[in-house]
């Protein structure tokens, strides 16, 4: 083998080894997916500190939406069908906000275990359905927790 | 469906129309810009050819 060829083989070898290690590590990373938000169950099990800002995601619990006395603050429960977190929010809610909708909220949890949200975002899924066929779908969505037999993931 | 209802877009007029308008405008701009540049390049090259011809006639 001439020196030039030897060099070429070394390069190829290095590339193959390096890329396969990188792929392995990347796969390992995928195993424990990085979370943009946490679920109510996680909050429940791991506890919370009132200093921390939490981003919690889940479905709006059916029949939990209520308006406080001041007329602008709303309260509702966010659920993953196993545990709930009560959320309190002052401000304009996204248009998609409704019972059974998946949402993401951001805020601190106060002494009464109520998450005082500074932001409420709706999470739209990948299903597009015409208006005419909507009723059944919407009902199914709102009753998702009733139909589910475990935690719903988002 | 009548036109005003159509333009109203179920209350999302601003969002829908601004997106569509912006997209069309961008696409049109790309084409216009390319055509404009084409004309300018051709003009410049033509001028250069003329200059060279003049130069050759002189010498």
């Amino acid at each position: 083998m001439s020196p030039s060829q030897k060099k070429r083989f070394t390069i190829i070898g290095v590339l193959i080894v390096g890329i396969s290690i990188a792929t392995f590590l990347a796969l390992q990373a995928m195993q424990s997916s990085i979370e943009y938000f946490r679920t109510p169950s996680q909050i429940k099990h791991e506890g919370f500190s009132s200093e921390q800002v939490y981003r919690v995601a889940g479905l709006v619990r059916k029949g939990s939406v209520s308006r406080l006395d001041d007329g602008v603050t709303q309260r509702f429960n966010v659920t993953d069908c196993e545990n709930d977190v009560t959320v309190q929010y002052t401000g304009i809610l996204p248009d998609l906000f409704r019972e059974g909708q998946a949402i993401v909220t951001l805020g601190k949890i106060n002494q009464e275990s109520v998450l005082v949200a500074s932001q409420v975002l709706a999470k739209h899924d990948e299903n597009y359905v015409p208006n005419e066929a909507a009723d059944a779908v919407m009902l199914a969505q709102a009753n998702k927790c009733d139909n589910a037999d475990g935690a719903v993931t988002y | 469906m009548n036109w005003s209802e159509f333009f109203h877009m179920g209350g999302y007029a601003f969002h829908v129309w601004s997106c569509w308008a912006l997209s069309t405008a961008c696409l049109l701009f790309i084409v216009a810009f390319a055509k404009f540049r084409n004309a300018r390049i051709k003009r410049d090259i033509a001028r250069q050819i003329q200059r060279e011809e003049r130069h050759q006639n002189n010498s």
């Binding site: 290095v14 290690i21 990188a22 990347a26 390992q28 990373a29 424990s32 997916s33 990085i34 921390q52 | -």
Partner: protein
């Protein structure tokens, strides 16, 4: 391998000749540590909360800013030309240079980060997270940055161009590195971020030397 070590050694020799370059990251750190308390409203918890983020930003800026010099002086005095002509493996030579560069910026920075953390009152579990994050992240920053520096070596004030080129590739490292910090502050797992940083590092260290060498060959002519 020998080439790598030699270049590593020479780079360090040059740094020692020029103490200025050696203490650059430290000075930079001190500057940041000094400037922020002076310029932020006087709330004690504030610094503690944003301290980790600031340190990461400082690390990114420090690597970004030291990049311009990485190949520039070699290019100007002609040693780079010599390396291109003579070096059997330009990749190895440049890797040596880059690693020396990292050890003088990234490693330094990492080693001093706990000190900075203390001045920011950051809790000690977080200090470790920050430390390992920086240890894993800064080599990638330097390696990726070196590619940008190599592409722009012939340009006189390439600094900005490096920044523009490199920033998109820096952001992921920053996201995972700093993300690790805020995750751990919330008591969440950080293994996934660690793996990702490691993957980025391995990828960078295998590919960057080739990218650097071919960028240098392509732009110097």
């Amino acid at each position: 391998m020998n080439t790598l070590l030699l270049y590593f050694k020479r780079e360090w020799q040059l740094l020692f000749r020029n103490t200025g370059a050696l203490i650059q990251p430290l000075v930079f750190f001190i500057i940041i540590a000094l400037l922020f308390p002076f310029s932020l409203p006087a709330e004690i918890t504030l610094l503690q909360k944003i301290g980790g983020g600031i340190i990461w930003v400082a690390a990114v800026l420090a690597s970004l800013l030291s990049l311009e010099n990485m190949f520039q002086s070699d290019y100007q005095d002609g040693t780079l030309e010599q390396a291109i002509i003579h070096q059997r493996s330009l990749e190895m030579a440049m890797l040596g240079k880059v690693l020396a560069h990292w050890s003088a910026t990234g490693l330094f920075l990492t080693v001093f980060s706990p000190l900075l953390c203390l001045t920011f009152n950051i809790p000690s579990e977080q200090i470790w997270v920050l430390f390992f994050g920086l240890l894993l992240g800064t080599p990638s920053l330097t390696l990726i940055g070196a590619v940008g520096a190599a592409i722009t070596v012939t340009l006189r004030r390439g600094g900005v161009l490096i920044a523009i080129i490199i920033l998109p590739l820096y952001i992921p490292v920053l996201i995972f590195g700093a993300g690790m910090l805020s995750q751990s502050a919330q008591g969440l797992e950080i293994t996934s971020q660690l793996y990702t940083l490691a993957a980025i590092f391995v990828l960078a260290i295998t590919l960057a030397p080739f990218a650097i060498a071919s960028a240098l060959r392509a732009t110097i002519n």
